[in-house]
């Protein structure tokens, strides 16, 4: 396999994992209107949960249960769902702004725990030597990477199929009804709070699943994999692609990831060595600009949700 193809496989794998997170955010924001300011936290919880469940036992660590990868995947979804449930139960009966603030806190706190709870997470050194699923079946790294891309895409398609079904179901209609008009939904005897909690928990579980897929891919995780900027990247992917559209989210993931890696490569080539540290700030400002400008100029993104009614306020 040539270098370019190998890079493409790597690029597509990461972009697909991000696309799965975006799907989780899409159910929360795109379909239900719930603002999650700590996406990276749920992703990290999934990644660490998987690492702790599947990792090899070590004297210095509490975790390392050596479980099969599928158990790790399920555990990751469950752990992230649980975190989502706690935040949602506390904040969702209140004004929606509180959910934004609380999820922002989750994002920061998870990073703190990852850094400081060395007995569980390996601290700043992270967890390493984690098993990659079906690794032994392949005789070369390239073959494994290619397999893993297919594996991630299959999981992504499964999540997509699940969400597409959910969104079309009566429950999915209810989600949009609540997003558009809470009072009307309540007057029809629906319970918006409970439906919001369900939607938030499902979204969190999907983000956790994506975290587990990342762990299985790289076999090594540390707090620097889960820096706060990831939350903004995921948001940019969703809104550029078009929130409320599953296809839009996936396209947005690839577009933004291309812009991010492309601008990174470009800047590292062009910027003089003493300004390298500064050049990464340019990338982040770019993400911020993309978010704000999209909200201002094209709130529906590239492929927005189709309008369900003929006229909107």
């Amino acid at each position: 396999m040539t270098g370019l193809l190998a890079y493409f496989v790597f690029f597509a794998t990461i972009a697909t994992i991000y696309a799965i997170i975006v799907m989780g955010l899409n159910i929360q924001w795109g379909f239900t209107g719930l603002f999650n300011a700590g996406v990276v936290g749920f992703y990290a919880i999934g990644a660490y949960a998987c690492a702790i469940l599947t990792g090899p036992a070590r004297d210095t660590l509490i975790g390392g249960f050596g479980m099969p990868f599928l158990v790790g995947l399920a555990g990751a979804a469950l752990a992230a769902a649980l975190a989502g449930l706690v935040v949602a139960l506390i904040t969702l009966r209140l004004s929606e702004e509180y959910l934004a603030i609380a999820t922002f806190g989750i994002g920061l706190t998870v990073q703190l725990v990852a850094l400081n709870a060395a007995g569980l997470t390996g601290g700043a050194n992270g967890l390493y030597g984690l098993p990659r699923p079906f690794w032994s079946l392949f005789d070369s790294v390239q073959a494994f990477n290619l397999f893993y891309l297919v594996f991630v895409v299959v999981i992504g398609l499964l999540v997509w199929a699940l969400l597409a079904r959910l969104v079309r179901s009566p429950w999915g209609r209810l989600l949009r009804a609540i997003r558009e008009d809470d009072v009307a939904a309540r007057s029809l005897g629906k319970n918006p709070v409970s439906v919001r909690v369900q939607s938030f928990v499902i979204g969190s579980a999907i983000m956790g699943t994506a975290g587990a897929l990342y762990t299985g891919y790289v076999g090594f995780i540390s707090p620097i994999d889960f820096i706060p900027i990831l939350t903004f990247q995921i948001w940019a992917m969703l809104i550029v692609g078009g929130s409320g559209s599953l296809l839009g989210g996936v396209i947005g993931s690839f577009v933004i990831w291309l812009i991010w890696t492309g601008s990174g490569t470009l800047l590292s080539r062009l910027a003089p060595p003493d300004l390298q540290a500064q050049s990464s700030a340019v990338q982040v400002v770019l993400i911020g600009l993309i978010i704000v400008l999209t909200i201002l100029i094209r709130p529906r993104g590239l492929i927005g949700e189709k309008s369900a009614v003929s006229s909107k306020k």
């Binding site: 948001w235 340019v282 704000v292 201002l296």
Partner: protein, 301 residues
């Protein structure tokens, strides 16, 4: 323990100055501005820029590391921070207000925060800066309690600001109009209150307080691009604890959050510092979501 309380009170004053601005904006303009903490950072850096451009010394007055130079720099920083807050409102929030779901404003502020924080990073670099390298001699009070004069000053200033702000909101015509908009914007408009005027003063007060808070924070800790970001959660916790829109509540909220943080750090590892305000926040939202003190407005809903 006493030392922790003393340190908590001075940090609390800085948080309170930020939280008073946040609570005003949340109460009157009705959205949670994630970019508010970046106004603190901006204010701190603007004061730094003024000092380095003019070549003024931060100065020293009596026991304080706060001389005429830094006072002047702070005044200019306040003006520049208010200008930033107004510019952001003009460029971003004004275009969205009333047109979109109000949580989209929160989202936009989230993006704005990123732009401001990393623009500062880009302009000034990521390294820590200081206003002055002078060492300050702590006041020794009683048996081994050490209080930095600057800490005492920021504490007194926060008290003063909250009292002035409270009196302003309660008795002045403009303050009454601001409370009116917070309570019921449509009714306020019918009674001849100009929303744009209220908008201007809300950002002016919020931005000004943020700049002062940022300078004080920069003086007691250090000036870094993520300094405001680190304070965002304590500021939100203080504002919610105090009841949204309640300025005096935000003052007490700031002290309570900082005191809990300082005392908790006696037992828990320092690495978990930021988690403390978060836990406080969750507990408040869970147990008494309207805050300990009655919000003076309809809240951010």
């Amino acid at each position: 323990m006493i030392q922790a309380i003393a340190d908590g009170l001075s940090t609390g004053a800085i948080i309170a100055l930020g939280a008073m601005g946040v609570t005003l904006v949340m109460g009157i303009l009705r959205f949670t501005n994630f970019a508010h903490a970046e106004y603190l950072t901006w204010g701190a850096y603007m004061a730094l820029a003024v000092l380095s451009v003019t070549g003024l010394d931060a100065g020293q007055t009596g026991p304080f590391r706060f001389g005429l130079g830094l006072v002047l720099a702070t005044v200019i920083a306040v003006v520049l921070t208010v200008a930033l807050a107004l510019a952001i409102d003009y460029l971003v929030f004004r275009r969205l207000r009333g047109r979109v779901n109000h949580i989209t404003l929160v989202f936009a502020s989230f993006g704005v925060a990123l732009i401001v924080r990393y623009s500062i990073h880009l302009i000034f670099g990521g390294a820590a800066h200081y206003y002055s390298n002078d060492l300050q001699i702590a006041w020794l009070i009683g048996d081994g309690l050490r209080v930095m004069p600057d800490q005492a000053l920021v504490f007194a200033l926060a008290l003063l600001v909250s009292v002035v702000l409270f009196l302003f909101l309660k008795y002045s015509a403009l303050g009454l109009a601001m409370r009116g908009v917070a309570e019921n914007p449509a009714l306020a408009a019918i009674n001849g209150v100009h929303f744009r005027k209220i908008l201007f003063w809300t950002w002016a007060i919020g931005g000004g307080l943020a700049a002062v808070s940022g300078v004080f924070y920069g003086m007691t800790v250090q000036i870094r691009p993520d300094m405001g970001f680190q304070l965002l959660l304590p500021i939100f916790a203080a504002a919610i604890l105090g009841g949204i829109g309640n300025v005096v509540g935000a003052l007490f909220g700031g002290f309570i959050v900082a005191l809990i943080e300082a005392i908790a750090l006696l037992w828990i590892p320092a690495g978990y510092k930021i988690a403390v305000p978060f836990v406080v926040l969750l507990l408040v939202l869970w147990l008494c979501p309207r805050g300990l003190f009655k919000g003076s407005s309809g809240g951010s809903k």
